[in-house]
């Protein structure tokens, strides 16, 4: 169970390998890497800056991870979230989950990314040809987070 909030890039393969090696009873390791896109809704994006709330971010991510581990039998889990200025193609976030069974690994991984989208105190501003603007929260992200509330 690891949380890292950092400006530096990360090596998804190294993290997956480290988690995979933690127990020989892990049957599946699911991972998700979120990347900066060069456009959204036909609007081109040259860079994205992520701001966060140091202290609260780590607490919220730890809470979300604890919730995942209460819901699914996980051998391990990891969240790495970057902040600062990033460009298209750059990695933003990594979530890794390991379990004896694949269904738990998949569900927990998707849950973690869905919840951190709406419950971790990060804010994004995008640089576009029309200037820099704050990214609005998306209704689709709220809906994705809410589906785990049942």
């Amino acid at each position: 169970m690891t949380i890292k909030v950092q400006t530096e890039n990360f090596d998804a393969g190294a993290e997956i390998a480290e988690i995979s090696a933690k127990s020989t009873n892990i049957g599946g390791v699911c991972s998700f890497v979120g990347l900066v896109r060069d456009s959204d809704d036909n609007k081109s994006i040259t860079a994205m800056t992520l701001e966060h709330y140091p202290g609260m971010t780590e607490k919220q991510l730890a809470k979300i991870e604890a919730e995942a581990r209460a819901r699914w039998p996980l051998d391990d889990s990891l969240i790495i979230h970057r902040y600062g200025r990033l460009e298209p193609g750059d990695q933003i976030v990594l979530v890794v989950t390991a379990s004896a069974h694949r269904k738990a690994a998949f569900e927990a991984c998707e849950f973690l990314i869905d919840w951190l989208k709406t419950k971790a105190p990060f804010w994004k501003s995008e640089e576009t040809p029309d200037g820099t603007k704050w990214v609005d929260a998306k209704a689709a992200d709220d809906a994705a987070a809410d589906k785990w509330e049942e």
């Binding site: 979120g34 701001e51 979230h81 933003i92 990314i113 989208k117 709406t118 804010w123 929260a137």
Partner: protein, 83 residues
């Protein structure tokens, strides 16, 4: 009380962080917002649309009826967009 402003709240109020003494009678988040708005145009502009204000007290996300007191750390920010 320490107050933190994130994202467009920081830009509009033109401040990232400040220490304030709570005036008498301010006991919850709504009261704090009303008082902050009275402190100047930047604050008034930042807090005009209350539907889009999210608040944390001592790094816990709370509603507007949550109590606040001197010594607390209060943060104002828009809906989160992580991931």
């Amino acid at each position: 009380m320490k107050i933190l402003y994130f994202a467009h709240f920081r830009e509009k109020a033109n401040i990232a962080e400040e220490d304030v003494d709570l005036p008498e009678g301010v006991a919850d988040v709504t009261g704090l917002l009303n008082w902050l708005e009275s402190r100047g145009e930047g604050y008034a502009d930042a807090f005009a649309d209350r539907d889009h204000i999210r608040v944390a007290v001592n790094q816990e996300h709370v509603e507007f009826d949550a109590a606040v007191k001197n010594g607390d750390e209060v943060a104002f920010f828009p809906p989160m967009t992580g991931g």
